[in-house]
């Protein structure tokens, strides 16, 4: 670096640049959270049951194998759109599917990836289903590209 470019100039770029972008990030966060998100995450449909379902999701570490909106582990299928894939967009069909699926685990097919038996109650399975249904309706800019997730 040329001698004209001094250490104090470098420090000022660091301090000025980082301060500016921290402030900009805070402004954008405020806009995202207060103005944009309420219209995109259908929070008016965020019922008690959905909240309980999120706890079932978390307490069993589902994200340790699955991804949800593309985040998590990549060992098992994406579940943000499983309501559309397996429930064909119908709450009752989806709940019936979930009940059958959760109770059939693990398959114990030799050599295949196994999903543990979590011993969820019917209530917990219904809560989890509601959570996944609500999640499937978040406006996420049209992701994933197709039904397979």
């Amino acid at each position: 670096m040329a001698e004209r470019f001094t250490k104090s100039m470098a420090r000022n770029i660091y301090l000025g640049g980082s301060t500016f972008f921290i402030l900009l990030f805070l402004v954008l966060t405020f806009d995202t959270q207060s103005r944009a998100m309420p219209e995109r995450d259908n929070r008016d449909k965020l019922t008690e049951q959905v909240v309980r379902g999120k706890h079932v999701w978390e307490n069993n570490n589902c994200v340790g194998c699955h991804s949800l909106m593309g985040e998590g582990a990549y060992f098992a299928p994406e579940l943000a759109n499983v309501f559309d894939r397996r429930g064909v967009g119908d709450s009752d069909i989806f709940k019936a599917y979930m009940n059958a699926w959760m109770n059939a685990m693990p398959t114990n097919v030799p050599g295949r990836r196994q999903m543990p038996q979590f011993n969820l109650t019917d209530q917990e399975i219904n809560d989890l289903s509601s959570f996944l249904e609500w999640t499937s309706k978040i406006d996420d800019n049209g992701w994933p590209p197709n039904i397979e997730g």
Binding site: F21, E58, G64
Partner: protein, 472 residues
């Protein structure tokens, strides 16, 4: 070593390396489960092994950062550590809490673990990388706070160097951002948004300050280049890191609910995120080319150049590959993400910790000029075996990812293969990755072996034409 209290870094480094070994063992288990699905099922389900693998990584890197800090801050400040006793107490608190948490993952069913640690009172568990019980998270916050107090008190009573200021700024950021791990709103989109305040703003934000400071310190020591020059580089690098990385958080906001303007902001700013890493490559190589002394610890210089190059490839190039929104639409959450994650963490954070260990451990063991030539050669073998293996792990996961995207993501609904059918089709890449993983493990064993070779580098007057080693 100028100050006795620097020695408290030693247990931190040793424990970090032990956890590193554990991380790799669980990495191999995960690799096997990718190809033999029911491997170790139901004793160690995939989610448990993955939690252990990623949490061990985070915890051992934190141990490494803390060891680096305890080692270099007193020397930079030219004073003894404020309280070596506090550093020892926090070491045991963190080591015991960390070990108990990992044992909890392995021997207690996760839902039961959530129950007995009273997750209900303040639910924070069950989110990727933040799986720790709330009580562990609180313990970590207290350890960070006590550590910061000790370090800040040390720095304040001595010389204020740029390396210390940047390092401590990074550590304050690390501690403050950790507090977001306690925020778990019931709205998933809000939860995810602020989850990234820990995850992204750590690894693509404040951790880069920590990495830059450690790299600058080691370069000052081994090259003897004027501090003014190195500090100027450091400021430019961290300026680029924060200017690009903060708004660059937007590349995680594409598909989790936030509005469309993040598609533009995230793409543009994160496309610039390779810049600070590219500057680190120029920095390391320029300083070593302009060195005023030939430090006999050659392998430390190798690690310093290696971390810059691999961080640039892993975080910079592999990050850029899939960061633009139109591309990320297809690649998000595939094996390409895993490829990037592996090389970025190894290059930037594993290797910077191994750099400072390579420089500082011999000194703490009474070998001021570094380990013997034999030990250094063995350590270099460890370096190349681990690094080349990681390159192959990354390439194989990249192959898996590209094929996965081709089969599962690009075709229309109805024509695309299902997730599981796709996995069967890309199994060959997982087998290849597994083999590369075994070579990585071999490299780690060789690396560990280098610590047990006796003797030290000899002091050669001829190579010390520059300032004396102890003066930097």
């Amino acid at each position: 070593m100028k100050y006795q209290s620097q020695r408290v870094a030693m247990p931190y480094f040793i424990f970090a390396l032990i956890l590193f070994a554990g991380q790799i063992v669980f990495g191999l288990i995960l690799g096997m489960q990718y190809v033999v699905g029911d491997f170790l099922f139901p004793e160690i389900p995939f989610n448990v092994a993955r939690m252990v693998h990623t949490n061990l990584l985070i915890v051992w890197l934190l141990f490494g950062f803390m060891g680096a800090t305890y080692y270099l801050v007193p020397e930079e400040a030219q004073t003894e550590l404020y309280s070596p006793l506090l550093a020892w107490i926090l070491f045991w608190v963190f080591a015991v809490a960390g070990t108990l948490t990992i044992l909890g993952y392995l021997f207690v069913d996760y839902a039961t673990l959530a129950d007995i640690t009273m997750n209900k009172l303040l639910p924070t568990m069950g989110r990727e990388f933040l799986e720790q019980p709330t009580i562990t998270k609180i313990g970590m916050a207290l350890v960070f706070a006590g550590f910061l107090f000790n370090i800040i008190m040390t720095a304040l009573k001595g010389r204020k160097t740029v390396v210390n200021i940047v390092l401590i700024t990074g550590l304050i950021g690390l501690t403050v951002l950790w507090l977001f791990s306690f925020y778990n709103p019931s709205n998933l989109t809000t939860d995810k948004y602020f989850w990234w305040f820990v995850v992204h703003l750590w690894v693509e934000g404040v951790w880069e300050l920590i990495m830059g400071a450690i790299l600058a310190y080691v370069l000052i020591k081994i090259t003897g280049v004027d501090r003014e020059v190195i500090e100027k580089w450091l400021y430019v690098i961290i300026a680029m890191a924060l200017i690009t990385g903060i708004i660059g958080t937007g590349h995680h906001f594409f598909w989790i609910g936030p509005p469309e303007y993040w598609l533009w902001l995230g793409s543009v700013f994160s496309a610039l995120e390779p810049l600070p890493f590219f500057m680190m490559v120029l920095f390391a190589f320029t300083m070593i080319n302009r060195r005023k002394r030939n430090h006999p610890n050659k392998v430390a210089a190798l690690w310093a150049m290696g971390t810059a190059v691999m961080a640039f490839l892993g975080a910079g190039v592999w990050g850029f590959l899939h960061t633009l929104a139109p591309i990320n639409y297809y690649t998000h959450g595939t094996q390409l993400t895993a490829a990037h994650g592996h090389m970025a963490f190894y290059g930037a954070y594993v290797m910077i910790v191994l750099t400072i260990i390579s420089y500082a451990m011999p000194i703490m063991r009474g070998r001021p000029y570094g380990n013997s030539n034999t030990a250094q050669v063995v350590e270099m073998w460890g370096f190349w075996l681990m690094t080349i293996s990681m390159v192959f792990i990354t390439l194989f996961l990249t192959g898996a990812g590209i094929l996965q995207i081709w089969l599962q993501r690009i075709p229309e609904s109805g024509e695309a293969l299902s997730f599981m059918a796709t996995q069967d089709n890309i199994a060959i890449f997982y087998w290849a990755r597994m083999i590369a993983g075994c070579f990585f493990m071999a490299g780690l064993v060789v690396y560990f072996g280098s610590f047990f070779i006796k003797g030290q580098a000899s002091f050669d007057e001829e190579v010390h034409s520059g300032p004396a080693l102890q003066d930097a």
